[in-house]
Amino acid sequence: MKNALILAGLLVFTSLAVFGQGYLEQPADALVIPIGVAGTVYEDMELGVRGGTITIANIEDPKGWNNHTAHETSTTWFTGRMHRGLVNLDHISGALVPDLAKSWEISEDSLVITFHLREGLMWSDGEPITADDVVFTYNDVILNEDVDTNARDGQLLPDDTYPVCEKVDTYTVTFTMSVIFRPALNSLSFNIMPKHALAQYVHKLNPEVPAGTFNETWTLDTPLDELVGNGPWIVSDYQPNVSVTMTRNPYYYAYDPAGTQLPYYDTIISAIVTNQDVSMLKFRNGETDVYGLRAEDIAILNSEAPAKGFSILITSDPGYGTTWFLINQDVGLAEGTDAEKRELYRNVKFREAMAHCIDKDTMINNVLNGLGGPQWSPVSVPSPFYAGRDYYGGPITENNAIIFEYDPAKAAGILDDLGVVDADGDGWRDLPSGAPLNLSIETNDNTTRSASCLILTDDWQSIGLNVTFQIVDFNTLVNNLFGSAGDLIYLGLTGGDEPNGGSNVYRSCGSLHAYRYSACDDPDDIDARVDELLALGANTFDLDAAFDYYTEYQQLLAAQLGYVYTVVQSFQYAYYDYVGNAFKASPTSTPGGNNGLLTELCFDKRLL
């Protein structure tokens, strides 16, 4: 404990020496987070004090320190805390809020967004943050073809052009779009990089370096004092396979209502612990302060919690992402075989019968230990556009849900009507022509998915469908997904707040429209309408109008049963009681998520 304090003190001292002294007084334009202010989503949080170190565990090493060339969350966990963008998602509610930009306006024709930056702010090395940095990041990094970044695709407008970014003055930037595109506001939350530190590595601005140099900038072997950011933390130490230490950025511009500069903690130590069981042991041993637990850990931790002084937060809030199985409606198309089976799979009544056999309650109780919820929509539950709400951002009522209840008898009835009956008396249903019907479902060796598949297989077999279950290697599964080679595939996808983020999945010609790639040349009515709705939803800044479009969109897809959704895990979390404000952790703001509730708004209660 004493040694930890000495180390923390040493790091703060070094950071001051390297980074600078920080603001002499709170900047006029500082971002004030309304901690403890009544009437806001932060009202039940406590004001904290500065100091101390929080230790957490991460599963993987970062792969670099460059936010925009990173392709893994193991890296962006750290780089996302070193940088901030014009806008951000609120720590608690997930709504879009001002961050580096203090305000913005949308023009009359909805094509131009003007951002006003906060004035007088500095990078972690004391250099001023201006519109030049925004323009540099957008034009010379993200849109630069030489740079290997995922961020570029996220900026694409529906007509395959990009917004045009221009500097108006030192603190004003505009983005001009060729079509009205509401999701652009979301994608303009990209992290801003320091021009004065990085321009020298971009060939476009500095012809002396070869093209692509930026891709090899700020790699793991870069001296850490070269890293510059505008986020709450800067990486100050890295021990490969062991730990990453981040120290408070003395020029971070968020404050609490009492005038204390955030974040409260002086340092975060992130221990790299690859094995989840060891991670739990370290939490129980008091080495880490928080732990993102699995359903199977609850029984053990519950019994120890009172004695050891930690609490377990169990919610029924599902997280982001979807879990589903698909029925391959293009089965045998490329080979020219299985025509009758393909026709059956394309019959929505058959898919409905399959959907009536999903025992979501058993999956939640047995596979997720009761910690999960049923899923019916392609949009993640935490999203304000989720159709289980009655209006944008409203509470969840499920009034608009399209549900296929668990009813094997009904499923059997549907199959009988379709002529899918046991013609040869072998106990298994056959195709209407009498030919045998064999189905196979496959997934990778993920315990949750495998267990769910077993339950599904069992239920389908009980109504006479000859389904076999197979576990295949993950890469093989993905190949089957893209090659339309599987029969039934059980998998999941990540999700976010913005329904348009799933356009590649649900557009008729989307690259992830894996349940029927042929829809690109031959869309049915629902496919065509879904394409229209995606464009309509993105084409307006009126959130309520967009919400209505997306509700119809979700209902159509749920009825179409292309991807058939099953269950999703809910959020649970464990923390020691001396970590102040940790009780507000949620899917929007987990330590593993990008909002970093824990790392900005939490504090050490023992210092009070």
Partner: protein
Amino acid sequence: MPHLALFFHKKAGMLTYIIRRTLYMLPLLLIVSLISFTLVKIMPGDFLTLARLDPQVTEETLQQQIERFGLDKPFLFQYWSWLKNILLHGDFGFSFVTKMPVYKTLFLGNKLQWTIFIALSTLILQYLFAIPIGIYSATHQYKPSDHIVTFFGFLGLSIPNFFFALVLLWILVVLFKVGNHGLSVGGVMDLKYYTMGWSWAKIVNIMWHMWPVWVVIGTSGMAGLIRLMRGNLLDTLSLPYVQTARAKGLTERVVVYKHAVRNAINPLVTILGLSLPNLVAGSIVTAIVLNLPTVGRSYFSALQRQDENVVMAGLLFFSLFLLLGNLLADFLLAWVDPRIRYD
């Protein structure tokens, strides 16, 4: 000066032997590299498989990446350009994941030093324990103590290493509650010592973190060594010259330690050379559980991401270790056993 002549003859013979063996390694490494490259390429998927699953990523971006990493070139072309870079420029390529040169990715920080330290220290301790226990076992053949020793040896051998590691950590944390005394588990030292200079406290801390490593990795190999020592010694003790020694009136201790053990130990010396690569490459899963910063960890995460250049370099590294281990084994045997000549 016949002895000196013999001495120099032997030394010269040893030198040519080493040179010859080293030269043999090169074609062997080449074949290993080709087989490894083939295996890596025929694995389903590639580095970009995960990227394909991201709904945001467009086809154009994927195609750009394919070209950037040269994944669309024919197989032999890719192998040949990889080989050419190594032979002509000593360049093992760069990692798709970290964008750093491969050797930096594999050996980042002090990984190489820790890998060698862990392997060597485990090896030495293994032998330090196995040989006396084997001798004891042989000299007390079939007594209860022999059976007990054998039992524990096989226990260490049969328990999977990663499971043993987890159980050991669990015992420390839950049963002995070491956290209450400020002791941490896993890794090679407490986090704070990495940035501090050397001190006695640091060395003691490293010992605290290393003993589970030595127990887990060491015991898995010890059973074999104990049985081997035991068997060899028993064989040696039944030879006629031992009977002669006893008849001459030498004490049992002198017979066993001065004469029998020295002859029985030869095969174990050979195995010493072979154990080294095993320890370097074989303890990856244990290293993951115990959080050890080793080269195997980088190799494993490269394998998971199909980071081809790193995987290839890692395989070559382990193969080199294996070949060096073999060379060391032969060399040690020849050094210890005067009957062996180098030609």
